[in-house]
């Protein structure tokens, strides 16, 4: 294939755009992961991630894995075969987590929700209230369903659990939420929160993260699900002194250190604000096009990804392929139930206004080229109007380190 000039516009909801300085930081010579100075790299990584999770009480685990590995760690270290878990299903990732739980031998009570909505806290409360025997050992929730662009309200779910006075664990997938939209591990009394490096953390893929409450940690002896690679205990034995039970992905840790610096310099609340602004600008463009989001109402709007429903008779897959081939724009495909019906714009990671406007312009052209009846420049113009009124810089952030 001939060389493609210029940069690819990466607007899938992960892997996300990563700052060059993070990539640079990773380009280091190999090192002994048992050296006396290795802990200087490792210990601050755990501390930094705890700030991102907003936890002081939980413990964070880092695996050389994807977020899927983090899911498995969360389940395998807290539950036993045959345990009942409750899971709301409303998209591809909440589906896959259900599937994993079943394959690991858990008994999953699925709350089916319409795709385009999320975890209904009222239904969770109802289910838990009914479970007077406390057979449900854990509530599994996907915080941000990447497939449909839907965010569930974890605070409300915690409240529902409290209302039901139910002792189940709260296990949350925030793979495409953490670091981009607000997440409060301690305040929301989350028990396991799973994430990955390639989304809001602005790193290449290869690290899975799990924050774990003391309540959940205490269950690990009884968990009885086979695991070694993902066993918290082996990590507990070594992490404290700055080491790992097996060779960690050292270069990614150098990237993680730099990514955490980026987050600190911009400021976590500023980052949430920026994602909110860029998401709203995207939704302004969708409105201007006269199209609908997959998310059924504002209640469910995700600030990291928008799934856009194409008009009847149009194949979203063709738009996506054309955007890639003709305009070097990577859009997210519709998955499973919404395949061919939606395309997704990921507005997550290291992103700014002009990057987004370039992507919106590209989506616009790809739609026009595929017969969608919109006006060139209309979505861009609406997004511009929004962005002019709403700066992505919420406030002066912490001063940049030297």
């Amino acid at each position: 294939m001939a060389r493609r000039p210029g940069r690819n516009f990466l607007f899938v909801p992960g892997p996300t755009n990563v700052p060059d300085r993070v990539l640079r930081a990773m380009m280091v010579a190999q090192e002994d992961h048992r050296s006396p100075i290795f802990p200087e790299l490792i210990k601050p990584a755990f501390e930094g991630l705890k700030k991102v999770y907003k936890t002081t009480e939980g413990q964070v685990f880092i695996f050389p894995s994807s977020g899927t590995g983090g899911w498995e760690a969360a389940l395998a270290n807290t539950l036993a075969p045959g345990d009942k878990v409750l899971n709301s299903r409303f998209g591809q990732f909440s589906h896959l987590w259900t599937d994993m739980a079943q394959r690991l031998g858990l008994d999953v009570q699925v709350l089916e929700e319409e795709w385009g909505t999320g975890a209904h806290e009222e239904k969770i409360e109802e289910a838990l209230t009914k479970d007077t025997a406390h057979e449900i050992k854990a509530v599994m929730v996907v915080h941000n369903e990447t497939a449909t662009g839907v965010t569930s309200n974890i605070a409300a779910i915690r409240k529902a659990m409290d209302n039901a006075k139910h002792p189940a664990l709260l296990l949350v997938d925030s793979v495409s939420g953490l670091g981009s939209i607000d997440f409060r591990f301690d305040e929301w009394k989350v028990d396991c929160a799973v994430s990955g490096s390639q989304k809001g953390l602005m790193l290449p893929a290869g690290l899975g993260f799990v924050a774990v409450s003391q309540k959940a940690l205490n269950l690990r002896k009884n968990s009885k699900l086979n695991k070694v690679y993902f066993d918290f205990q082996d990590h507990i034995n070594t992490n404290g002194s700055g080491y790992f039970p097996y060779t960690p992905a050292t270069n990614l840790f150098h990237g993680l250190r730099e990514a955490l610096r980026c987050i600190e310099e911009e400021g976590l609340e500023n980052i949430f604000h920026r994602h909110a602004v860029l998401a709203r600008a995207t939704r302004a463009a969708v409105d201007a096009w006269g199209l609908k989001l997959c998310a059924k109402s504002e209640r469910w709007h995700s600030d990291t990804v928008s799934a856009i429903v194409v008009p009847e008779g149009i194949d979203a897959a063709k738009i996506i392929r054309h955007a890639y081939d003709r305009y070097n724009l990577a859009l997210g495909a519709g998955l499973s139930k919404v395949a061919g019906k939606v395309f997704r714009i990921g507005h997550i990671g290291d992103l700014n206004e002009l990057m987004l406007l370039g992507a919106i312009a590209g989506a616009e052209m790809a739609m026009l080229d595929n017969g969608v009846n919109i006006k060139a420049g209309s979505g861009v113009g609406a997004a511009q109007d929004y962005l002019r009124d709403n700066p992505i810089e919420r406030q002066a952030a912490t001063p940049k380190a030297a």
Copy 2:
């Protein structure tokens, strides 16, 4: 300062956007520039540049310098103190080259042209025709005047010189033209053509290039202008075997090798086509805004940079500063005579449609925020319409190497 999220949109007319693979190629350990294998890096660089210059007869010199160094080399190796040269002046860079010639002790006959126009071949012909004594030793021309976005017609100037049957050398500055717009060293019988690494060659700054005809080379013994660093002779003595008279900028040579591969993979004619398309899309946006270019007519339109005149009463410098501060967009400032009156969009280097549309969107917002009466999305929309009809990929290029 707080961290700025996302990428800077670099739309000055150089330094240009450089492919990541070129940057990567430069990140090599240091090496002995007198090693037996060093020529394997150097010799193909000369050959590759000759293809970009479209010369088989000329010789290329590579200096650790900017393009300004290339200017000095071109003058100092071909002329003697007091020699008369003819130079059309119509912008900041044609002015500076005049200034250099004067400071080097040359007698410059300046053809003053209105800024926004370029070198008028008819006036050059007239001047040369009058010079029956052949006192004019060289015609100096800036191929692409970066300050005003004006391209002069080198083929026409050669024809004018031929018409006048004048033996003067033809010295051309194609710093912001070479590798982006067509340049035909042999066909146009150019004698010295100066360029630099940080424009169409898609490299960081630090290398100056000069292609030199045999006719010009033959004059070097009589040149009598003092020089050592820029002396062609020292390079002739060593370049043939793949070495240099002093330590070359070795890392940039690794970048140059990769940049030449990029050029070959995309194809030089395809690159020219791409620049033409992106330039026209930019001009479509300017039209849609109801604004004018600094270039007075289509005859002078540059395909690598557009200087856009802002309405009376608006300070272009404020737009530029605002674009940088608020939208992370680097636009070119108006220089000298046109300071405050124009801003410039450089559309040169490793660029594609969405990058350009992001920049146009940014310029649009910066103008709106500064009181220019245009409609959000109007320029983007016009550019999109043009780009949808005119793919930047002219044709299948040469297959990519493994």
Copy 3:
């Protein structure tokens, strides 16, 4: 801490020294792992690894994990809870694999061997011959025991299994062998061969590899050990078209592509030869020092790591720490039973004579500084003599690609 000048000499048996070009190759912008061109990166990786494994019949799996993850995948996909497995134990890594098997619910029959020896094929044959009921489902062997610098003879073990006419699977850990010492998956009829990226493959840590025979693959439906992340089936469903069931560690794949090119350019047999030469030079130094290897006899000598026994009364840990602090040399520590008694020199990965001689010189100084009675320069001199007589370049390798 103050800046340490110069390079760290990394002579642990992994992570190994990685060519700069591999690091460079990894420094790429993020990309959509579901893009149409992603398979162009992935498919050749599987093919290249098969060449390194010397298999045409086996299938290779690549996990975002360490080698430990590969171990777990090998066991979890081929065995059922309660299955009996046979494992020779003679070092820290053969111990840990036993431990994993037990924790996964397998019934491990351990053949205890003296540390410094390896898997005794004759004892394996005896055990299998006794097992007339074929209760043993798998023979687990560590090819190269990194803790003691011992290599077992996999070909001989295969012969022992054939002699016993036993149908057990042959599961091999070649984490610190593959790509550095000969490994013949098909010829030796290995069923699972586990490796990792950070050893002979000359990559940063983060990828686990498992080559799997068709015989082993066919058992996956009956494996009954819980797994999702490491489930071969999910990978089989997606790998064929160039994708993965979850986000792969994309940047490491760019490194893997380049590392495989490095291997092809040098030539696999040349690489084995080079490791053999450097290992022998190391052993010549140990002889000259008058010290002994942990490996009890030539039969067990490893070509990727030498564990050197320090004299009575000397604490090897102090030598290692001093080498690191004073000479910036990372040596491998003695683990478990041999802690304090040995230090290890890893001579694996992207290494040449002068790097090794620098490390030997450093080990020499660190021993002298800690009271070991040897002569400065003695080990280096012996290694030099060997190296002068035995070039690391066995033969002209395949021509370098452009």
Copy 4:
């Protein structure tokens, strides 16, 4: 050619080994060299270089050039055609500087010194004392003659000039000295001190530096030698606000910032100490081999490069070529008068003990393979003995920045 495993051992006296972090720092996207934030990169570079030069009164100029360009700038900005200058010649670089001065139209009074010695301050004093008319406008000295491994005593030369009460300028080439051996611009009342990026500054080649005294600066109006590219005045006009008269080599400035941080973290005096220790270890090896340095006596020993005389009947060029081809070791060749008679070990830049010992081991093998009668390990052993007694870390340096 087949891939060469491992690292090249770079022991020429420049380009030197550069810390990876400096290379990483250079790998940044291009930027507008007229942006509002560009001065944040530039201004500290000037300040940092002044510390390395030990000047508060002088002004530093940075050119996109080699050190040769710095030479030309020093001469062209301070002297007029026909001016008389005094230059001691005792090696290839002091010869080339003489040659440049002559080609620029200066009248050079050459003090010929035996190669292997340096600038004899007593002869300079004598010449200046004789010059009662003060016709000599400048004394040119090469601080560290790279060709022969000879260091001249600049403090003593200043004293000689003061003794002679002569107003001539003191122009010093410290290309291979600055940043590695002590240099005191203010204390020694140097007027121009030339250096380059690729030696003690631990950067890739491409930047030339000149520190200039106020006395020398005041002469620039009368200098009358033609120059534009190297004209101090254009830089004075722009440097103060953080800009340049033409496009600077921006990526190298990012490297310069990081290199200056490296220097600050290690501490300049510690760096000098380290170079002294490594140089003495090298000389201990030469002694042990029973060979002689080109430098005639301790008075002239250079701490950045040792030129080693091979025995009669041996061709040093063959040793150098063999070291490169067989052991991947780059040694410096003998230049001009000493071609074939010496090989050079550069011990300058980012270097530590084990790197040096690897190089000494390599030189040893290359000599043995070419018939030099030495004992394997002898030079290494002597250097080890010296290094064990003399740590390269003189003292705790300034704490490392975060």
